[in-house]
Symmetry: C2
DNA sequence: ATACCTACCTAACGTTCGTTAGTAACCCGA
DNA sequence: TCGGGTTACTAACGAACGTTAGGTAGGTAT
């Protein structure tokens, strides 16, 4: 029991550090943040952080690794909950936007601090990011095959959709005009308008 | 004449420094790049950089300031060259995408290194960026008023369009599958599909 | 020939960086 | 009450940071 409690508290301390690091890295960037500044925000000494993490780099990787986990599991659950390419794309886009609003800071870091990862850690993260992007590409492809989408270039369209939604993390504000749900709804509409096959023969 | 030559060479040296800084900051980030590393790439000593720029911060600001200049003038010229809300939005989007492919690195920095600016410099840059965004908002508004666009939220749509196109700077590659022109064409089509008013009453 | 300016250099400044070693306070089971 | 593990601390390491002072080689103007 003692070890379980200890483990819990240890995990909780690590969690506190990660949360503080997310907030700090988001504002000042990884290289612009020092271990001493991070520690100060936690009312600790910098050296104490090394009890929980082996290095500064390990902290960054832990943040990005977990964020990629959440993205992959989240989009998997969202897509599995409905049927058909259109409903699934709606669900995937909706999840992606909501995640980038709710988990704004870590989502932002997962894109902006890739360059601060060591080579090995970058490879690990990019592999999972590719996997995530593949979900969207395959949804588009299914829709095109089923005749409900009309897309001239699946790869490009997937990138366009993802970067558009990812951008939410850069400008979203809790105290802003629009709630995450509203933003997600409108993004879903915009995106579906641009990929849906038009019944009449107007496009391009 | 001597002074003119001197001035030219001085400006050329400053230009070389800016170009090297753009490449370096892009890869390592502002705080991840040192004056010594920057100098090494130029076969200089770090101290010599201070003959051309007052500080590291001044180099970053010079990059972002000029990029904002290019964006504002470029979109102004693009929009002025054609008539009507739809043609103008096409032109603006086209310019924005092409700029973020051709001037990829500095365009990337103008978004990713805002947080590395001092407060005063940030204010200057943000003022101009707001001005740039306003161009797109007013194009959308004109189109809605003219009845050619159908947009539920102009502000949100403008942000969506801009972040989508800005994203090009993060993934574009010279040696990639698609030329900037092709990317611009497809982006223009996607965006216009999602803002154009549908003749029939299907949307939402 | 002299004086000056330009564009760089070497050397060093004080500070901060990530990280390690060694230690002290605390809590728990025995 | 004792001993061991947990979690933090203080102190310090060498390296790297942005920046400044002062000097020097070479071209130009007088």
């Amino acid at each position: 029991m003692a070890t379980i409690v200890a483990t819990h508290e240890r995990a909780a301390a690590a969690e506190r550090i990660l949360r503080a690091a997310i907030a700090l890295f988001r504002v000042r960037g990884y290289h612009g943040s020092s271990m001493r500044t991070l520690a100060r925000g936690l009312r600790m000494e910098a050296a104490s952080l090394y009890y929980h993490f082996g290095s500064k780099q390990e902290i960054l990787f832990a943040i990005l690794d977990r964020t990629l986990d959440d993205l992959l599991h989240g989009v998997g659950r969202a897509v599995a909950a409905v049927e058909g390419p259109e409903a699934r794309l709606r669900a995937a886009v909706r999840f992606h936007v909501l995640f980038h609003a709710h988990s704004q800071h870590e989502a932002f870091l997962s894109h902006s601090e890739l360059r601060s990862l060591t080579q090995g850690n970058l490879r690990l993260v990019l592999t999972r990011r590719d996997e995530y992007e593949r979900v969207f590409r395959s949804l588009l492809t299914s829709g095109v095959r089923a005749g409900v989408f009309q897309v001239s270039d699946v790869r490009l369209t997937a990138m366009a959709i993802l970067t558009m939604c990812t951008g939410v993390a850069t400008w979203f504000s809790d105290r802003g005009r629009l709630a995450p749900e509203s933003i997600a709804d409108r993004y879903v509409e915009m995106i579906l308008r641009s990929v849906k096959r038009c019944p009449k023969g107007s496009p391009s």
